[in-house]
């Protein structure tokens, strides 16, 4: 099941073909490497644009949200067996 977290995180990454690609993120003072990005989706609410990333880090699936207007990252959920 997905466990709700909703905590602010810091993300570093690279740009590929004009798109940001997360490489690692810092959550609760731990550096988590991004092993695979499994899904990326763009959503919008009015003019507010958000990009949702699903990625695998050390075998765990994380759902990240990037607010494209204020460039704010949020760890939404993680998968727990």
């Amino acid at each position: 099941m997905y466990q709700t977290i909703n905590e602010t995180i810091a993300v570093v990454g690279t740009y590929k073909d004009g798109m940001f690609v997360p490489r690692k993120f810092k959550w609760r003072e731990r550096i988590m490497p991004v092993d695979t990005i499994t899904l990326v989706n763009d959503t919008r609410d009015g003019v507010r644009k958000k990009r949702l990333y699903s990625l695998v880090s050390k075998g765990t699936v994380f759902r990240l949200e990037f607010d494209r207007d204020n460039e704010h990252w949020l760890l939404l959920e993680l998968w727990v067996e």
Binding site: T38, D42, T43, D45, G46, R48, V56, E81
Partner: protein
Amino acid sequence: MERTILHVDINSYFATMLQQENPHLRGKPIGVVKDEGRTCLIALSKEAKQFGIETGARKQEALTLCPQLLCLPASFERYLDATKRLQKVFLTVAPSVYIYSLDEAFIDVTDCREHLYPDLEKLGKTIQDRIKTELGEWVTCNIGIANNRFMAKMASEVAPKGGVSIVTPDKKELILATTPFKDVCGIGYRLSKKLARCNVFYPYQIRFIPEEELHTLFGPFWSVQLAKMAYGEEPHLLQQIDREIPHMKSVGRSITGYHLYQNPTEIKRILHNLSIEIIEKVRIQKLAGRNIWIGLYGQEGYWSAHLTIATPINQVFELINRVDHLYKQWNHSFEVIKFAVRLSLLEPHQQDQLLPSWQKHESIQRALDTINTKFGRFTARPAAVPPQKELIYPEVTGFLGDKLYQLRNE
């Protein structure tokens, strides 16, 4: 040149997207529910279908068939984005693309087939590869190719998972003779039951029913449609795709509650919440409507009322007033589980009214629109709606009945 239509159908779309997102779910039986706490399975992974579970089954029934079934909530905004990306992939193949539902599309390659796609099997495989590149390696689709949409859709239904099926004249007869009516586009549950009572289970069998008898049994409309289907011709439902629709004719929204409601304030608040969503859609499309309809469904009853007015409306307070007026007619004879509101007879909003009261409401509405566009939906809203945590947000349906709105150019 003969028409060439491709029908692309993503396999077990909602469940497949969850499996694409989460490698831990791949190869496992997954059931998709609309939201946390819901019990109706709206989609199933191919692994779950192997246990004999059917779409629409209750979670408890499904768990008796497959105790290891994992039930997860759908993520409609992600599916809609994926569909928009699929649309872009299809438009790289040919300019004539029709998104039929969230997970299905027709591509007409008639004009570009000769020079660009002489090998249709190869084209099908190329589209499948592009979908994998765009959405992920776990996403597979069936592709049916035929000279019309009806046969293309049927071919993709009968194709093996992840396969490409091209309808040749020989194959066409075989498909018509072996595809049960439940897999035939345009045949609903009741019509298939009626056909079964006449011992007709496959489209091909209709050829042996005399025209007069078909007319007597199924009436003037369905007798013609069934005769077309028997020969693999496009029925009315799919021909409608070619019709130009300048704008939506109606905008409606329904929701099933988490429990039975009997408190009038709670019921009205839910109807108001649905009204806000309707007005948002209507105003974005610069439309206004004249017919207001509300429906309430209980376990033992159903009630609806409607009202047609002279002047089209597109302001939330006006719609809420009209909904409240209709609601007053209800005698509260049952507890409510499902709520529905619809604004129809839509037409382009062309002229503002000069009445001061209308101008006042319009200026409030514009302020609401500006705030909610900038800061997010429901930031500013009428007071008489459910509390923040219980607000009902817009969602897309698999059928994508509001595709004119959802897939509009922004």
